[in-house]
């Protein structure tokens, strides 16, 4: 029996009343926003669900044998293949249903991966699974580096961020490459549903997870998930940073439904009232990974970050205007 959400806006009570399917007792760091994201995603499930996950922080902290934090069926195999796992599970469910071996009316398949298992090593399997049109939801929880193995840079690490493989040194000020526009890459696959989300905007996130599950075909959700350890930020502020990222337009919220792009409410409000757009420095300061940018010799890089943020924001506005 799939659970229908009523037409009225979701309340915190609606969500708080649902039992957690991502259980307490996992070994994530204190203040881990990806853990909040896991909890929220699982709150948005609508019925029988199978979860498959790539190697990464959330996979490791939730499945330390003999303990598991997953109240749903859950499979992990390797780092680069969450989407291939999902493909296999979906294919099995499809054929077994045809042969009368599945009792459930429908089973949702969710693939979870970090930026490691999505932008870089995972992109092949993701692209292939989407091209083949499997019915599953892929959620990228983006903490912007290979956090589990020690904060190494990924394709999702933003420009200027210091990581263990792109440290801020005397000659090189952190990562010199831009953050790969992964959600736009997925839109270019002409897939039914792509969206970005942030845990502070919980209602937006939950609605998008649900929308992704409801799509008959592949759906992709990119969720920003601050990591206090890797970002060298105050653990208490992890959710706040996910808000500042949206308010400064570093991480705008939008969705693409069959290629039609539209801004989500939190970003739409900024589009309508540009004075509300915060400077990137509001977001960057307080994060130790960007601390070196606030020195005179790196002033140019800070300006570059603002410029790129504005450019991407303008491009997004243009794309969403045709909706």
């Amino acid at each position: 029996m799939t659970e229908e959400w009523s037409a009225r806006a979701l309340t915190t009570k609606d969500i708080a009343e649902k039992p957690d399917l991502f259980l307490s007792g996992h070994r994530a760091c204190a203040g881990c926003a990806p853990a909040t994201v896991m909890r929220l995603i699982m709150k948005a499930t609508r019925g029988p669900t199978i979860v498959t996950q790539a190697t990464g922080c959330m996979e490791v902290v939730s499945s330390i044998y003999p303990y598991t934090s997953w109240a749903t069926p859950w499979l992990h195999t390797a780092f680069e293949n969450a989407a291939a796992n999902a493909s296999g599970i979906e294919a099995a469910l499809k054929i077994m249903k045809k042969k009368g071996r599945i009792k459930q009316e429908h089973v949702d398949v969710i693939a979870l991966a970090g930026d490691g298992g999505t932008y870089d090593i995972g992109i092949q399997a993701l692209s292939g699974a989407v091209e083949r049109g499997h019915d599953f939801l892929f959620v990228l929880y983006d903490n912007e580096a290979y956090m589990n193995t020690g904060i190494q840079r990924s394709g999702g690490t933003p420009l200027g961020a210091a990581t263990s493989t792109s440290p801020a040194g005397t000659v090189m000020p952190g990562k010199l490459e831009r953050k790969k526009p992964i959600a736009e890459i997925m839109v270019a696959h002409e897939m039914p549903y792509v969206a970005t989300a942030s845990p502070y905007y919980w209602r937006d996130l939950l609605t998008k997870v649900r929308k992704g599950l409801e799509v008959n075909g592949p759906a992709f959700l990119h969720v920003l998930a601050p990591c206090p350890r890797g970002w060298r930020s105050d653990p208490a502020k992890s959710i706040e940073y996910s808000k500042l990222a949206v308010e400064s337009c570093v991480f705008p919220l939008w969705e693409s439904v069959n290629g039609q792009c539209q801004l989500s409410v939190p970003s739409k409000l900024i589009a309508l009232a540009p004075q509300k757009k915060k400077p990137v420095t509001d977001y960057l300061q307080g994060q130790g990974r960007f601390r070196h940018l606030f020195t005179p010799q790196n002033k140019r890089l800070l300006e570059e970050i603002q410029r790129i943020t504005d450019e991407r924001w303008q491009r997004l506005l243009k794309k969403c205007q045709t909706a």
Binding site: W74, L75, H76, A78, A84, G88, A91, S127
Partner: protein, 410 residues
């Protein structure tokens, strides 16, 4: 003794025979990526799918790594799965081979044995699957197209046996078997379906305190593929080894059950002997070369030479007892390797046979011939030379060259 069923004779090459066997085996999911010389398996199967001749979900993955992943994931969801590969494709799957056996998923995979790069070579040798012998997969090497057909059907039974639960590789020599046409005796559809049966699942204890069938099922949630720290990992690996041990008996059982229905048996399923009972000199090999060697043995026997052949059909698990029993009275043995273990002082099969014979009181001479790499053909004359070398060893009681390369331009 059940009566042998009437079988249709179909002209099939090795790849086609594999595809045909898969077609009949009620496979749920096939996820595969093409690579020479396995492509015909995938193509033939696509035809079956396109014509509605199979009830199988066919996934054309974007790489072999994803193909095996998808098969593994489908398998632990409860589906019967199959895939095929060779050479670089199998190499690309390397990581997932270990994961598949670690997850105890009974995936069946046909390997059209082919050389590994570099340089690039599309022809047949056994380096691809030999390089994966530590991965926890059962490995069988077939001598003929007929055996390829038979072994695929048997493989599902072996893999899914509750005492085993290990994935199986069936290796057929690239081009030599994969592309060679034979008159294959095919069992009727209903007989094969009955033989493979429905997949049984073991019961496992879940974190909810239930005992449930081992599969991803929202009815009985369970977590598969966790991280296991040094306090647990070792125990899981020991379990896999026990499953390998159990496979020795299961492979023999399936071989004889299959013989009752088809009239065909391959030795005892683990090894096959030819003129070995009183042999003084013998050759050990895997795969199709055995066929050529048999003609050489016949010739030598005509000349009064006590020559014999041991074909190892099941390489993993290694049939230690069978190898020892077959060879313990042979005086000089040549082990043929169609692959190399660089820097290893001989090939893999040589190492393993030698180590099995180490404790044998008679302590026979055991030498190695590396041959056929990159699809280099080996003639009966060259194989006869091997037996002549063995005889010379017995005459002189000396081994001049323990490792030789048959057919190499020195």
């Amino acid at each position: 003794m059940k009566s042998i069923v009437k079988q249709e004779i179909i002209a099939l090459n090795g790849d086609e025979a594999v595809a045909y066997a898969v077609k009949q085996s009620d496979v749920d999911v096939v996820a595969a990526y093409p690579i020479t010389p396995q492509t015909i398996i995938v193509e033939k199967f696509s035809e079956y799918v396109a014509n509605g001749e199979v009830q199988t979900e066919f996934v054309c993955t974007e790489s072999e790594h994803s193909a095996l992943t998808a098969c593994l994931a489908a398998s632990v969801t409860g589906a019967r799965t199959f895939t095929a590969s060779a050479s670089a494709g199998l190499a690309l799957m390397h990581e997932m081979l270990f994961v598949t056996s670690g997850c105890r998923a009974p995936v069946v995979m046909a390997i059209a044995n082919r050389a590994l790069s570099a340089p690039l070579n599309i022809h047949g040798d056994q380096s691809d699957s030999m390089a994966q012998r530590d991965s926890g997969w059962i490995q069988m090497y077939v001598e003929s197209t007929q055996e390829a057909y038979d072994s695929i059907i048997q493989a599902f039974r072996i893999a899914e046996d509750l005492q085993v639960l290990l994935p199986v590789i069936v290796g057929l020599d690239g081009f030599t078997l994969s592309h060679s046409l034979e008159n294959v005796k095919a069992l009727p559809d209903d007989i094969v379906k009955k033989f493979v049966g429905t997949r049984q699942l073991p019961l496992v204890a879940t974190h909810e305190g239930k005992s449930a069938p081992f599969k991803l099922d929202p009815e009985n949630p369970m977590t598969m593929g966790p991280i296991a720290f040094p306090d647990y990992y070792f125990e899981f690996k020991r379990q896999q080894e026990e499953a390998m041990k159990n496979a020795l008996a299961v492979i023999q059982k399936v071989n004889s059950e299959y013989a009752e229905v088809s009239g065909r048996s391959y030795g005892n399923g683990l090894t096959d002997v030819y003129c070995l009972e009183d042999a003084e000199v013998a050759v050990v090999c895997l795969g199709s070369t055995a066929g050529t060697i048999k003609t050489v043995v016949d010739e030598l026997r005509q000349e009064g030479i006590k020559a014999g052949l041991l074909r190892i059909r099941t390489f993993r698990p290694l049939p230690v007892e069978e190898i020892r029993r077959a060879l313990e009275n042979v005086k000089a043995i040549a082990v043929m390797d169609k692959s190399m273990s660089f820097g290893g002082n001989g090939g893999a099969v040589f190492h393993e046979v030698r180590h099995v014979l180490y404790d044998v009181k008679a302590h026979p001479y055991v030498v190695n011939y590396i041959y056929g790499l990159g699809g280099r053909d080996t003639s009966p004359r060259e194989l006869r030379r091997v037996y002549e070398d063995l005889q010379r060893i017995l005459q002189t009681q000396r081994v001049k060259k323990p490792i030789q390369y048959l057919g190499l331009r020195e």
